[in-house]
């Protein structure tokens, strides 16, 4: 900082520390409460040092409160959606990058605009569409499954079934993932594919042998962003799931909080902590992609 007098520069650095410390405390304090409360034998609504450290809340969550089920449901639906999105957006992003057809530009504009539509605004029509699809699926499966109808529909149903939630979660994340993959393939030279074409490789061979290995970093970025926003989604499971067996973590947390007369803050904090951990892990990996995806994506 030549030119700036040393004393001023020191004052600015001091100011920078004060600012950063204050903002960091503001950002961290709620997390500190949550983690401490989840370990406190006498957890309260407010921030305090634990009376004694205990893992009882976590044990209760997994032993008595179906915590394993909630976690497994969340993980299963979100991972399935992520895998679907990675495959579909990998193929679609490649097409969007390489095509020179008339539909390319309108399609790219369309996916950017779809991304800005608020999901609450689409919810009612979406629910009606899924209800129709659910009835269709029901009458299709009913003759074959007999007595197991209810449990089969919990898997293949579109309302109150895994399939519906997975499909809707995946579709919601597709636009951003397609955009990430399109931009990624724009940066991959065409030489490799052209060499493969000259060697007589078919489209499927080109995808398997050349494009998938090249696309791995892009697919990782698309997968991480999909995972993060699908994991954090609260609205869709709230509307689409009602059976206790299908409950996911955000709904478990929300419903546990509604039991007003017997709120167990330690247990709630334990659910929230467990729910938070995968999100933080995914985010720490996704962080480096944040700036690149900014230009096309809407942060979720």
């Amino acid at each position: 900082m030549a030119g700036v007098p040393l004393k001023r520069s020191g004052a600015y650095t001091f100011l920078a520390y004060v600012t950063l410390i204050v903002i960091s405390i503001f950002c961290l304090l709620p997390f500190v409460w949550m983690v401490l409360a989840s370990l406190d034998s006498n957890a309260q609504l407010f921030l305090k040092w634990p009376d004694s450290i205990t893992f009882d809340h976590y044990i209760k969550l997994f032993a008595e409160e179906n915590g394993v089920r909630w976690f497994a449901n969340s993980l299963f639906t979100v991972l399935s959606a992520t895998i679907i999105v990675v495959i579909i957006s990998g193929l679609g992003g490649y097409a969007l990058s390489r095509s020179r057809a008339w539909w390319k530009q309108p399609f790219l504009y369309a996916i950017l605009l779809i991304r800005v539509l608020p999901s609450t605004a689409l919810l009612v029509p979406l629910y009606k569409i899924l209800l129709t699809a659910n009835n269709g699926m029901g009458s299709l499966l009913r003759p074959f499954v007999g007595d197991n109808y209810r449990s089969v529909m919990q898997v293949f149903g579109f309302i109150d079934g895994y399939l519906g939630l997975i499909v809707v979660l995946a579709t919601g994340q597709l636009p951003l993932a397609l955009w990430i993959m399109k931009v990624f393939f724009d940066g991959v030279p065409k030489d490799y594919e052209e060499a493969a074409i000259l060697d007589g490789a078919t489209l499927v061979q080109r995808i398997r042998r050349v494009l998938i290995p090249l696309a791995l970093p892009g697919l990782a970025a698309a997968g991480l962003f999909t995972f993060m926003s699908a994991w954090g989604d609260f609205l869709l499971p709230l509307i689409l799931l009602s059976s206790p067996e299908l409950q996911t973590l955000p709904i478990g947390l929300f419903r546990a909080f509604l039991r007003v007369n017997e709120i167990d803050y330690g247990l709630l904090a334990a659910i929230a902590t467990i729910y938070l951990i995968p999100a933080v892990i995914a985010f720490s990996f996704a962080r480096r992609f944040l700036v690149q995806t900014f230009s096309g994506g809407v942060k979720g």
């Binding site: 030549a2 700036v4 600015y12 650095t13 100011l15 520390y17 600012t19 960091s24 950002c27 709620p30 997390f31 409460w33 949550m34 309260q44 407010f46 921030l47 193929l91 679609g92 490649y94 097409a95 390489r98 095509s99 057809a101 530009q105 504009y109 369309a110 950017l112 800005v116 539509l117 608020p118 609450t120 605004a121 689409l122 919810l123 009612v124 029509p125 979406l126 569409i129 579709t171 919601g172 597709l174 636009p175 993060m228 609260f234 609205l235 955000p250 947390l253 909080f257 803050y265 929230a272 729910y275 938070l276 999100a279 933080v280 995914a282 985010f283 700036v291 900014f294 230009s295 809407v298």
Partner: protein, 295 residues
């Protein structure tokens, strides 16, 4: 001629690859958006007579909507929420953090991680954690801090509900703003600062005359994106206040949800949804145009 046939075949292949993405997007996003417009012109409901036989009612829902004080209230609440958190709160605190982190400070990665952590928190977790900070009168963590500092406390979520949800949403987005603005700051070439320093500019002048104007496009894009994504925030507000007390924090997404799934008036709720869709689309088109998408 041979080349032409090859090209055609290639484009057909590309369209085939895109089809698995096109179909779900068409059925589960574009069709629902159009269907919302149709629903908003019916008296469709989840329960009662209208549930069995919905009728076409034309613009009646919209007349009702525009004379509904609760709808205007939700637009006002949404406006304050978006301007307060996305445009002012996240931007100002994110910018300050970005500028502070550009100085050589010890532990900058720790500060960075701390400021980014709220971004990773799912909406419901954010709502839940802030209940501890704000609810419970003198038991709330914020009240205890105020008492420790010898300052007055209030029942935060009842006295300043809208300010509080706006602050919580600010908290959720400082990190993203910081990262994006850091990228924007590093894109300003250092020669420009050198030249200004030679001409005797002071730090404040350099900031106002160089940094801000050069970053204006980044800032503008950032604000558009955060505005659009803030309009669709639902889970955090719903978990923290459920739109209350009264309707004082009922942002448009909570309003639509309440009309559709609490009052079961699907047609009427859809009219509110169409208004939200149009506002977001206008912002989205502005965004796409200013991005000058290089396709």
């Amino acid at each position: 001629m041979v080349l032409d046939a090859f090209q055609k075949r290639r484009e057909r292949q590309m369209l085939t690859l895109l089809l698995p993405a096109l179909i779900p997007l068409a059925i589960l996003t574009i069709y629902p958006a159009l269907y919302a417009v149709y629903l908003s012109m019916t008296n469709e409901a989840l329960t009662g007579v209208a549930a069995a036989k919905p009728r076409f009612v034309g613009a009646a829902n919209y007349f009702r909507l525009f004379s509904d004080g609760r709808f205007w209230n939700s637009l006002f609440v949404t406006f304050v929420f978006v301007v307060g958190s996305a445009i002012i709160g996240q931007f100002v605190l994110g910018f300050i953090s970005a500028v502070a982190l550009r100085r050589k400070v010890y532990g900058s990665s720790v500060f960075g991680a701390a400021i980014l952590l709220p971004n990773a928190a799912p909406e419901v977790v954010a709502g839940f954690m802030w209940i501890s900070m704000l609810a419970g009168g003198d038991h709330a963590t914020l009240s205890k801090i105020m008492i420790a500092l010898g300052l007055p406390w209030v029942d935060w979520l009842n006295t300043f509900p809208l300010f509080m949800v706006t602050m919580v949403n600010t908290w959720r987005g400082i990190g993203t703003a910081m990262i994006l603005l850091t990228a924007g700051l590093s894109a300003v070439p250092s020669e420009v600062y050198e030249a200004a320093r030679m001409d005797g500019a002071n730090p404040r002048q350099m900031f106002l005359r160089i940094t801000l104007p050069l970053m204006a496009p980044t800032i503008f894009l950032y604000m558009l994106i955060s505005t659009v994504s803030t309009i669709s925030v639902f889970g955090m507000v719903y978990a923290l206040t459920r739109g209350g007390p009264g309707n004082r924090t009922e942002v448009i997404s909570v309003y639509i949800y309440n009309q559709s799934f609490t009052a079961f008036q699907l047609g009427y709720g859809a009219a509110g949804a169409v208004v939200a869709l149009l506002v977001s689309l206008v912002l989205g088109i502005t965004y796409v145009r200013s991005l000058k998408v290089n396709v």
